[in-house]
Amino acid sequence: MNIGPQRQHNWDWRAAGNFIGGGSGSGLLLAAAVSAPTGIDIRLAATVALLLVAGGLGLVWFETGRPARFINVFRNRRTSWMTREAFTALALLPLAAATAVTGWLPLLLLTAAPAALFLYTQARILRAARGIPAWRPAEIVPLVVTTGLAEGTGLLLILLSLGESPHPPAAFPGTLALALVLVRWFAWHCYWKGLQRGAPEGTLRALAPVQPLLLTGGTLLPGLLALLLTLEPPAQALLMGLAGAAMTATGWLTKLLIVTRAGFNQGYAIPIAPARGGGRTGPGSRPGWHLPPGGERP
């Protein structure tokens, strides 16, 4: 029997899809709401966001064992972040749909509130999974929130680049993108540093590729492009699309890896071995964990 941490298989790519779709969709709504004065296509942004959020929830619905009982998910608003996510979705989805149909700016601004809550509930869902050392650190919350915002802003840049205008408004979205990739990198850095203080070896192995990927593809490249965008250069649409794609893709990959590949369980451990007969107690055992000297955190 395996005693050390094992990769969990209960939440697979479908669960990751909920965090990807929900994070990007709600991030897009928030990015669209703050960028609205620059003249974005509200209908298009709300439609894409709606499809992402609804698609993510649909994926996770198919992952449940008894999907016909879905109504029971609303029973524990007192302590369950999954229930709170479901209630938030009840407000978010109709508002996003109404925004997609009407394209009315005040409605988009109103939708931003449940979108922000939705993003936060998703982050707290992972944080509450105390059996998975890669999900339960407090640093997962800012990471999931900032990457959702960065992915949403990335999608907004892509949508702007696909618009009819050869010179879409770039200064504000560019500044926003630059700020968010930097904040996301900081959030990742704190999260990764925290894991070094104690995590399953498998988790660290699974997330090791994220470090260079998020630095180069997720921060430096889009950051540089976003910096250029603030100067409103020629070939603006292309730069926007590239920056947006880099921000979004790296965020999705990070979440996919965190949920599916880095999700190792706690494993078993004993702090001491019992005394045998009249002997003394011995050292304990905690196989499969990376624990630096003097460093271990729950």
């Binding site: 939440w11 509450a128 059996g131 706690q266 071995a273 019992p274 050292p283």
Partner: protein, 212 residues
């Protein structure tokens, strides 16, 4: 529940008794015994560690359950209402003890061949595609209490694994009963709880040796 690690010989009789009592599907073990090695040559130790649902004081599985299917009774036992559970597996990833499982398909010992008679008799359709775990044989405890028996003392009111233990390594009882065997053993022995740093307040105590 107490586990005297000095007594456990790793015979897995508790595992077999649990499967026999609760008819769990192949591959699902509500009570397991780990064979752990620690130390390095020449000071190597081998310890048999029974594990399962720890029936935590602050069960993370109950906190995250969106359906209230997982509940903690007044006596501390954590239960699952199979009819409410949607099988979202959130409790499974919230449990630091790998005590929960979800079985989606009718498991059988010999796939592709007709199910054996005992498999047909104990299908437990209600447990399929939802979370399941050790219940401390709650039906036996409730039966015993209803009939004036004492859990941990009278076998009919005691979990199957405790009854079956050949070495008297498993002890069950009320932690709050000051003159009970559980309280007495805890007072007279060094003990620990697994993953205590996670603050779930696990209800399984491991005894490591008598206090001198």
């Amino acid at each position: 529940m107490l586990v005297d690690l000095n007594r456990c010989v790793g015979c897995q009789t508790c595992t077999a008794a649990c499967k026999q009592t609760n008819a769990t599907a192949p591959g699902v073990q509500w009570r397991r015994v780990l064979d752990m090695e620690s130390g390095s040559y020449p000071e190597v130790r081998r310890t048999f560690v029974p594990v399962g649902c720890m029936h935590c004081e602050d069960p993370p599985c109950a906190d995250v359950c969106p359906t209230l299917a997982t509940q903690q009774r007044d006596d501390g036992i954590v239960t699952i209402d199979y009819d409410l559970c949607i099988g979202c597996a959130y409790c499974i990833v919230a449990c630091p003890y790998q005590a929960r499982s979800r079985v989606d398909y009718p498991n059988q010992a010999y796939p592709g061949r007709p199910r054996m008679k005992h498999e047909q008799r104990t299908e437990h359709f209600e447990r399929r595609r939802v979370a399941q775990k050790c219940t401390f044989c709650v039906d036996r405890i409730d039966y015993g209490l209803a009939n004036g028996l004492t859990p941990g003392v009278d076998p009919d009111a005691t979990p199957g694994c405790v009854n079956a233990c050949i070495a008297d390594a498993l002890v069950f009882g009320d932690l709050e009963q000051a003159d009970g065997r559980v309280a007495e053993l805890l007072a007279s022995h060094h003990h620990f709880r697994m993953h205590e740093e996670l603050d779930t307040g696990p209800g399984l105590y491991y005894l490591t040796g008598p206090r001198s």
